[in-house]
C-alpha cells in the first residue's frame, strides 16, 4: 500500500458510469418476466386422463397429496374415482409426483403466484381449481423421463420350432431375479384388484415378492384362491388390462408373478407347510359339490377350511374341470394341476371321481344327503358350426378334441387342420394340432385384432406356424368319397361399421367363395351346458335361462339350499370368475349354515 493510493481511490469511482445506464430492474408487477419453459409452478391435473392410482400421493415425501373424491368422477373399472389434492402448505415442488405419474396427467405449470391471507385456502385440487392450467403446462414427464419402469421383464419362452415338438410347457417362468425385477415395477395402486373377479390381493403379494418374501406371497395368494398356480399359468388376467403402468408402458406381468410365487412351493406338502392354513374344527355340517372344476374346488377348499365336511362328485377321472380337459398341457402341465388338487385334498376335501350325477348318482340323492349343494357343472358340450357337410369324418368340436387329447386318447386329424373360431379354444386346438405335425389354419370371421383369444396366445400360435385367415366365414364342408373331410369352402367378409357404435360386423361378400383343402375341421365357436341331471321337481326352483342358471349375488339359486357357479352361471366363462363364484358361494353357504 502506497502512502496515498490514488488508483485505489479513483478506480472505484468508475462505478459511477453506471448512473447513466439503463437500470436492470424489472418493474414487477407492471412488467414481468415469463417463467421458464420448464418452470415448476402450481400443479395441474388432467382429471379425465387421471386414473386415481394415487402414486403421486405415495411418492410425496411431504405427505402433501391427498386422494379425495371430487364430483363428476365416480370411479369405474381401472379408475379409483379419487383425484389428487395438493396441500400447498406441504408441497416443495420437487415434481416427483409428476415423474411417477403413470398416465402423465399430472404436471406442473408456469403459474406460480398464489398469495392469500387465509392459510386454509392452500389446499389445491389440480385441474379442478385451475382448469386454465392446461395451457400453461411446463414441467411434465414423458415416457423417456418417467420414473415408472415401463418395460416388462421379458418372459423366457421356448422357441417356436422347439415348442411344436412336444407338449412341454412353452412359458418357462421367471427366475428369482427376474421375478423380483418385475415385481418391483409395481406401484401398488390396487386398481387391478377391482377388475379381478376374485379380487385377489394383487399389490400385497407382488410387494411380498418384491421384498423377497415368496412365502408370504404364497400365503396372501392362497387367501382367496386355491388354484393360483393354474391361474398363474392360464388366467385371462383382466387385471393387466387396467394396470396403471399400462397407460404408458407394458402392464405388470401379474399372472407370471403369481405363477412364480406359487411355483416356489414345489409340492403339495410344501404348499401346505408354507400356507399353513387355519382349519377350523369340524362343525358336523356337510356340503355336496357337483363338479371338480375351479368353482367347485374353490368352494370345497374354503368350506373345508371352515370346518365343513365337503364331498365332490366329478364325472371325469381327474379333477380340474375345464382347466384339466380344456387347456392343453403345454400351457398347464398336469403335474401342476395335480399338485394343487393334492393340496386341496390334503385339507380334507373328498372327491368322488368318475361319478356322473344323473347317471351314477341322482341329484335328488345329493340334495337330500347334504346340508347344502353347490353346482359347478360347467359347459360340457360345444356348439356346432351349422353348415353343410358338418357330419363328415374328421369334422369335430375343438373342445371335444382337446378333451380327448388331454385324456390321453389319440385322434386322427391328418396333416391339414382347419380351426374355425377366434377364441382361446380355437387357438389351443390349433396349437395342439401343430404339435401333432399338422398344417393348421384358423378361420375367423372378423379381423385378427378382434379375436377374443389372448394376444400372447395368438402370437404364440403364429410363432409356431399357425396360419390365420381373418374375415372368412365357412359355408360348407366338402367331403371326399369316403365321407371324410376334403376341403372347406368359405366366403370372404368385409367389416361393416355398426351404426349404433358397436363393434363392426362381418358381412360376407357374395361370390368371394374360396376353397381350402383340409383333413380335419374343428369348430371352436362356443360351448353350452348340459343340465339333464336335474330332476323335474327342481325345475321350478332352479331356473335356467339362456343356458345358464339364474342365481342371486350370493350364487344362490331359487332353491336356498342349492348354489351354483362357474361357466354354468357367469358369462365371462373363465377360470378366475369360476373361482370367484366358488368363493362367494362358500361364504354364502357358511353364512347360511352357521346362522
Amino acid at each position: 500500500m502506497s502512502f496515498f493510493d490514488l488508483n485505489g481511490t479513483l478506480k472505484p469511482l468508475t462505478a459511477l458510469k453506471q448512473f447513466g445506464k439503463k437500470p436492470h430492474t424489472i418493474s414487477y408487477p407492471k412488467e414481468s418476466k415469463e417463467a421458464a419453459d420448464r418452470y415448476r409452478g402450481l400443479h395441474f391435473n388432467d382429471l379425465d386422463e387421471c386414473i386415481g392410482c394415487g402414486n403421486c400421493s405415495t411418492i410425496c415425501q411431504n405427505a402433501a397429496i391427498d386422494m379425495i373424491h371430487i364430483e363428476g368422477h365416480d370411479g369405474k373399472k381401472g379408475d379409483s374415482g379419487l383425484r389428487p389434492r395438493v396441500d400447498n402448505g406441504r408441497c416443495c415442488w420437487c415434481a416427483l409426483c409428476v415423474e411417477v405419474c403413470p398416465t402423465g396427467s399430472l404436471s406442473l405449470t408456469k403459474d406460480y403466484l398464489y398469495v392469500s391471507e387465509d392459510p386454509d385456502s392452500f389446499l389445491w385440487t389440480p385441474g379442478k381449481d385451475n382448469p386454465e392450467g392446461k395451457e400453461q403446462i411446463s414441467f411434465f414427464s414423458t415416457e423417456e423421463t418417467s420414473l415408472n419402469v415401463l418395460d416388462r421383464v421379458p418372459m423366457p419362452e421356448l422357441e417356436g420350432k422347439e415348442r411344436v415338438k412336444s407338449f412341454a410347457e412353452v412359458v418357462l417362468g421367471y427366475n428369482e431375479a427376474e421375478a423380483r425385477a418385475e415385481a418391483s415395477r409395481c406401484i401398488s395402486c390396487g386398481l387391478c384388484t377391482e377388475v379381478c373377479p376374485e379380487h385377489m390381493h394383487i399389490p400385497e403379494y407382488i410387494n411380498a415378492i418384491a421384498a423377497g418374501n415368496d412365502a408370504d406371497a404364497v400365503r396372501i395368494i392362497y387367501d382367496n384362491n386355491p388354484l393360483p398356480e393354474m391361474c398363474g399359468k392360464v388366467c385371462t388376467r383382466r387385471c393387466e388390462d387396467v394396470c396403471a403402468i399400462a397407460s404408458r408402458g407394458e402392464a405388470l406381468a401379474i399372472r407370471w408373478l403369481k405363477r412364480y410365487a406359487t411355483e416356489t412351493a414345489v409340492t403339495a406338502d410344501i404348499t401346505r407347510e408354507i400356507v399353513n392354513p387355519e382349519i377350523r374344527e369340524a362343525n358336523g355340517k356337510t356340503v355336496g359339490i357337483i363338479g371338480a372344476g375351479p368353482s367347485g374346488l374353490t368352494a370345497a377348499y374354503y368350506l373345508a377350511l371352515r370346518g365343513y365336511d365337503v364331498t365332490i362328485y366329478e364325472s371325469s377321472a381327474k379333477a380340474g374341470g375345464a382347466t384339466m380337459y380344456g387347456i392343453p398341457k403345454y400351457r398347464l402341465p398336469i403335474e401342476s394341476l395335480d399338485k394343487q388338487i393334492d393340496y386341496i385334498k390334503s385339507i380334507g376335501v373328498k372327491i368322488n371321481f368318475n361319478t356322473k350325477v344323473g347317471k351314477d348318482i341322482s341329484f335328488k340323492e345329493i340334495y337330500n344327503k347334504f346340508d347344502a349343494v353347490f353346482m359347478g357343472v360347467g359347459f360340457p358340450d360345444a356348439w356346432s358350426l351349422g353348415v353343410d357337410g358338418e357330419d363328415a369324418k374328421g369334422s369335430m368340436q375343438a373342445f371335444r378334441y382337446l378333451y380327448m387329447i388331454n385324456s390321453g386318447d389319440k385322434v386322427d386329424i391328418g396333416d391339414k387342420v382347419i380351426v374355425v373360431g377366434g377364441g382361446n379354444v380355437a387357438i389351443d386346438a390349433a396349437r395342439v394340432s401343430r404339435r401333432f405335425g399338422a398344417d393348421v389354419t384358423i378361420l375367423y370371421r372378423r379381423r385378427v385384432e378382434d379375436m377374443p383369444a389372448d394376444w400372447e396366445e395368438i402370437e404364440g400360435a403364429e410363432d409356431e406356424g399357425v396360419h390365420i385367415i381373418p374375415q372368412g366365414i365357412p359355408i360348407k364342408v366338402h367331403k371326399d368319397e369316403n365321407g371324410h373331410v376334403k376341403s372347406v369352402e368359405y366366403l370372404k367378409a368385409e367389416m361393416v361399421p355398426d351404426p349404433k357404435g358397436g363393434r363392426p360386423k362381418p358381412v360376407a361378400i357374395e361370390g368371394s367363395n374360396t376353397i381350402i383343402e383340409a383333413t380335419a375341421v374343428m369348430a371352436a365357436i362356443g360351448q353350452m351346458g348340459d343340465y339333464s341331471f336335474l330332476e323335474k321337481e327342481f325345475e321350478d326352483k332352479i331356473k335356467i335361462e339362456r343356458g345358464r342358471f339364474i342365481v342371486n349375488e350370493k350364487q344362490q339359486t331359487g332353491d336356498p339350499k342349492v348354489f351354483a357357479g362357474g361357466d354354468a352361471v357367469n358369462r365371462t366363462a373363465d377360470a378366475i370368475s369360476a373361482i370367484a363364484d366358488g368363493f362367494r358361494a362358500c361364504k354364502a353357504i357358511d353364512e347360511m349354515l352357521s346362522a
Binding site: 420448464r38 416427483l96 418391483s184
Partner: protein, 367 residues
C-alpha cells in the same frame, strides 16, 4: 487496568450474520476477547427425516442443506448412491453435472461478492452482483425448472436434458458476466479501502489451517493447493483444463483473491464443458422408486463447493430407505471452532467480514 468486557450478541437477528446463527462475543473496547458461536436455529433434522424417506424421496431434501449452493450436495448424494449401487452415469450427464456445479459455484460466489462487501459497507457491489446472479438463476430455471432449488442432479444422471439453444445462452451469459467481473474488480479489488479493511484481518496460518481442518478457498487462501476437483477427481474434471488458484497470506484479502480467480476459472470450465459436451443419454434410469433398494454397505462421496469440501455419507441396510445419511458441510469446521478462535483479537467491526470470508453457512452446520 483491564477494561470491563461487554458481551455482544451478534445474531440471530442481525443484518451482519450470514444466515440464522449467533456469535456471542465479549469485547474490550473494540477488541474481541472471547467468541462463542451458537447454532441450532436452523436444525431440521434432515438426517433423521431421510431415514423415513426412501432413497429417491431423500433426494428432494438435499438442496435445503445449503441454500446458496445446493448442487454440490445433490452431487455428493448422487455419487454416493451410485458408488454404493455401482450405477453407471452416462458421459453426457457427467458433463451436464459439471456445468451445473460450475454455474452453482459462480452463483454462490456472486452472492459472496454481495455478502463480503455488504459486511464492509460497499452495498453497490451487492446490488450489482446479486442482481447479475439472477442471470445465472435464469439459466438454472431454464434447465431445471427452479431458480434456487434445482433438484436436478440425481442418482443415475440428471433429470432433464439440456433444452434447445441452452448452450448459446450459457455462453452469452458467460460473456456478459466476464465483462461485469471487470467492473467488480474496479469497484472492489482496486478499492483502497477494501484492501485496508481486508488485509491482515482474520489471518489463518498454514499450520493452523491443516490442524483445524480448513478446506476449500479458505485453505487455498493460506497458500495450500488443495481442491477435490484435482485431488480426488469426480465426474469429468480430470478431462478439463483449469487451474486451482492459491494465495499466500491467509487473510480475508487472500481468500477474496482466491475467489476472484476461481470465478474466472469457472467461466473457463463452463466454456470447455459446452464445447466438449457429448451427445447421448443423460440418465441411467433407476428402478421403481418405491421399491428401489441399495445393497448393504456404506459410501462417502465428496464434492468441492465454494465453501470447501462437502460430502455425503450414506449407509444402507439393504432396504428401500437409508439407514443413515450424514452430510459433511464445510461450514461445519469453519463456522464453529475455527471462527471462535479466529475472532479472538480481532476488531468487533470485522466479525461479519470474517464470517463471510469463511463462507459460514449455518444451515449446513445444523442441517
Amino acid at each position: 487496568m483491564r477494561e470491563k468486557a461487554t458481551t455482544l450478541y451478534i445474531g440471530p437477528q442481525h443484518p451482519g450474520i450470514t444466515g440464522n446463527m449467533m456469535v456471542k462475543v465479549q469485547v474490550e473496547g473494540d477488541t474481541i476477547v472471547k467468541a462463542r458461536t451458537e447454532v441450532g436455529y436452523l436444525h431440521r433434522a434432515f438426517e433423521k427425516l431421510q431415514e423415513s424417506r426412501n432413497w429417491l424421496q431423500s433426494f428432494t431434501l438435499l438442496c435445503r442443506f445449503c441454500v446458496p449452493e445446493p448442487d454440490p450436495v445433490e452431487e455428493s448424494y448422487a455419487r454416493a448412491v451410485e458408488l454404493l449401487e455401482g450405477r453407471e452415469v452416462p458421459e453426457r450427464a457427467k458433463y451436464i453435472r459439471v456445468l451445473m456445479l460450475e454455474l452453482a459455484r459462480m452463483a454462490s460466489y456472486m452472492l459472496w461478492y454481495g455478502g463480503q462487501n455488504g459486511s464492509l459497507g460497499l452495498y453497490t457491489m451487492g446490488q450489482w452482483s446479486v442482481g447479475d446472479r439472477n442471470y445465472i438463476l435464469d439459466l438454472f430455471e431454464e434447465l431445471t425448472g427452479g431458480r434456487v432449488y434445482h433438484m436436478y442432479i440425481w442418482p443415475g444422471g440428471v433429470r432433464r436434458d439440456l433444452p434447445d439453444g441452452f448452450a448459446d445462452k450459457v455462453l452469452r451469459t458467460m460473456d456478459y458476466l466476464e465483462k461485469r467481473l471487470k467492473d467488480y474488480d474496479d469497484l472492489m479489488f482496486e478499492n483502497t479501502i477494501f484492501q485496508k479493511r481486508t488485509q491482515g484481518v482474520g489471518i489463518i496460518s498454514k499450520e493452523k489451517a491443516v490442524e483445524w481442518g480448513v478446506v476449500g478457498p479458505v485453505l487455498r487462501g493460506c497458500g495450500i493447493k488443495s481442491d477435490i476437483r484435482i485431488d480426488d477427481p469426480y465426474e469429468v474434471y480430470d478431462k478439463l483444463d483449469f487451474i486451482v488458484p492459491t494465495q499466500e497470506g491467509g487473510d480475508i484479502w487472500a481468500r477474496a483473491l482466491v475467489r476472484r480467480q476461481e470465478i474466472r476459472q469457472s467461466i473457463r470450465i463452463i466454456r470447455q464443458v459446452i464445447e466438449k459436451m457429448p451427445s447421448g443419454e443423460f440418465y441411467n434410469r433407476i428402478p421403481n422408486p418405491h421399491k428401489w433398494t441399495l445393497p448393504k454397505g456404506d459410501a462417502y462421496a465428496r464434492t468441492e463447493a465454494t465453501r470447501g469440501e462437502v460430502g455425503m455419507y450414506i449407509v444402507s441396510d439393504g432396504s428401500t430407505h437409508p439407514r443413515r445419511t450424514h452430510f459433511r458441510g464445510a461450514a461445519y469446521v469453519h463456522g464453529i471452532t475455527l471462527l471462535e478462535d479466529l475472532l479472538i483479537g480481532e476488531n468487533v467491526a470485522d466479525i461479519s467480514a470474517i464470517m463471510n470470508s469463511l463462507g459460514t453457512c449455518p444451515p449446513e452446520i445444523e442441517r
